[in-house]
Symmetry: D2
Subunit: 179 residues, 4 copies
Amino acid sequence: MSSIDADPTASWLSREELDSARERLPILYVHAVPVRVDHSGTVTSVGLLLRVSADGIINRELVAGRVLYHERIRDALLRHIEKDLGPMALPRIPVSPVPFTIAEHFPTPGVTAYVDPRQHAVSLAYIVAVTGDCAPQHDALDLAWLSPHEALDPQLLIEMTGGHGVLLRQALAHLGHAV
Amino acid sequence: MSSIDADPTASWLSREELDSARERLPILYVHAVPVRVDHSGTVTSVGLLLRVSADGIINRELVAGRVLYHERIRDALLRHIEKDLGPMALPRIPVSPVPFTIAEHFPTPGVTAYVDPRQHAVSLAYIVAVTGDCAPQHDALDLAWLSPHEALDPQLLIEMTGGHGVLLRQALAHLGHAV
Amino acid sequence: MSSIDADPTASWLSREELDSARERLPILYVHAVPVRVDHSGTVTSVGLLLRVSADGIINRELVAGRVLYHERIRDALLRHIEKDLGPMALPRIPVSPVPFTIAEHFPTPGVTAYVDPRQHAVSLAYIVAVTGDCAPQHDALDLAWLSPHEALDPQLLIEMTGGHGVLLRQALAHLGHAV
Amino acid sequence: MSSIDADPTASWLSREELDSARERLPILYVHAVPVRVDHSGTVTSVGLLLRVSADGIINRELVAGRVLYHERIRDALLRHIEKDLGPMALPRIPVSPVPFTIAEHFPTPGVTAYVDPRQHAVSLAYIVAVTGDCAPQHDALDLAWLSPHEALDPQLLIEMTGGHGVLLRQALAHLGHAV
């Protein structure tokens, strides 16, 4: 999970209220795997955000964030992509609300492949083609575009913490890239 | 949405806390369309619960309910199916967590095809084959098994309120039954 | 199924060979439901081709056609969309090869919801956003854009023969439009 | 692709006719990934067939085979699973015809992740829970049950030729197992 807490105005709960809810309810998220495509819809590259974590480590991350009260999933996707990739990314939000996977993050390791120490988060994950100019925003240092083959590097996937490596591999498998 | 409030012990929040969260956060639900199948996986009938609403009207409903804190989606499905269809229903919970649709219920009509005056509820919807004996529980009067053809009756679908008719038609379309 | 036979050069089999294969093998097709979307990916309209059948009746149809030897599914989609909607339609071919449904057409009525008297055709069906100028080609008279609500008209769906009405309703259901 | 040629009576074409069609048309296949599940639908193990190839090498394979003329996809799945795993395997054929992926095999390497030197084969791939006793048939030596974790072994996946390793990894990713 990423820096959803960076923008307090994006939340309709106070910090204390959100912390309280996080101990009581599954929290709904969206994840987006940004991709570039050619005219036949073939994915030519995958976009990964480079962020510096609180302890100074550079992480590669997908786009992720919380769905707000009274916000459609497609609007949450749009908001988080624009927040992370800038207002000119021109994402093509999928026509169907069916995600390619559901990532269930538990505070306890071992329940699923996803862990989030802060909360029980259920994320709907989508692959989103972006067609405009991407400019990483806020705490992201850069946006790296990798070919599907490069993105399958096991070392890269293991280093992507917070479940982002698992989700990236699931996305690539869904696209037909698996070895 | 159905009688999720019938069993207060199923909630890890007090009634007041849940009411408060419902005004602030999207609440995660599951819906299940119970079906009977033959040996080739062809759906032979669809199960609908008959419930009496607070104002004495008999409604046909699908299985539905909230996902609790630290509960896997598949465990929530299992719990709600057993709650509504009894402990001998022997459901075959799908192997993949990908739902056939996401039903976004808003308190305001017109945002999507789904309305829930009480809350913003996001439901992951699954078709679940049941192989055992189904005995409606709690406030359900009966369980009616309809052929896919009977379940496509426009009058029936319109009478299924709370978005259950929309969801049933989506499930039938996903199964290949559409006219 | 549509006028795939209109362009003999598109086939790598002679007419006699194709006729012979059609009596012996399932033939692979693609169907496309052309849609217009807004910036959030919401479908605002659905495109239907108006064609005159051999007996002078005007039919509303989806885009459809055969997958050729050594042709990728995404290239077949692109080719048939350009063939029917013109070279400036600018379709966004889906990133994933997973269709929203598989339409199994049998020469014998009653096996599935789809009938094709000429052959056993298995079609992979996709919803494809088009962003450019559409100009119906060949034997299509016009392209009609309907809102999702208009496209759900039962009379319209029944009049769309060859399984196109069934498939359109399945597509609309997949998009969340069902009543 | 597997030993579909082992049973000539399963084909409605002569060997010569089928060979001819294979040079002219995409041939429709199904693949099945056999799995064992617990009561919550969680996959506990994956079944792999051990076969001796023509040159004496032992291969691990999934269930696969051709869809015949006038055969439903679900009947083709059932037939190939019973052919490979025996008549008591008791498979639960999925209720929906939507596959978890489409595997496009080309005779030319590099078009997709799948190669089949004999033909252009388009395969619809399903994950199928089996609940009975599996006894490998015909040319299969044994059936090995691996945990999802064991099945993710990169060495195993690379050794599974004919695209079976790619497809197995895609299936595991679809189930939420990816690292």
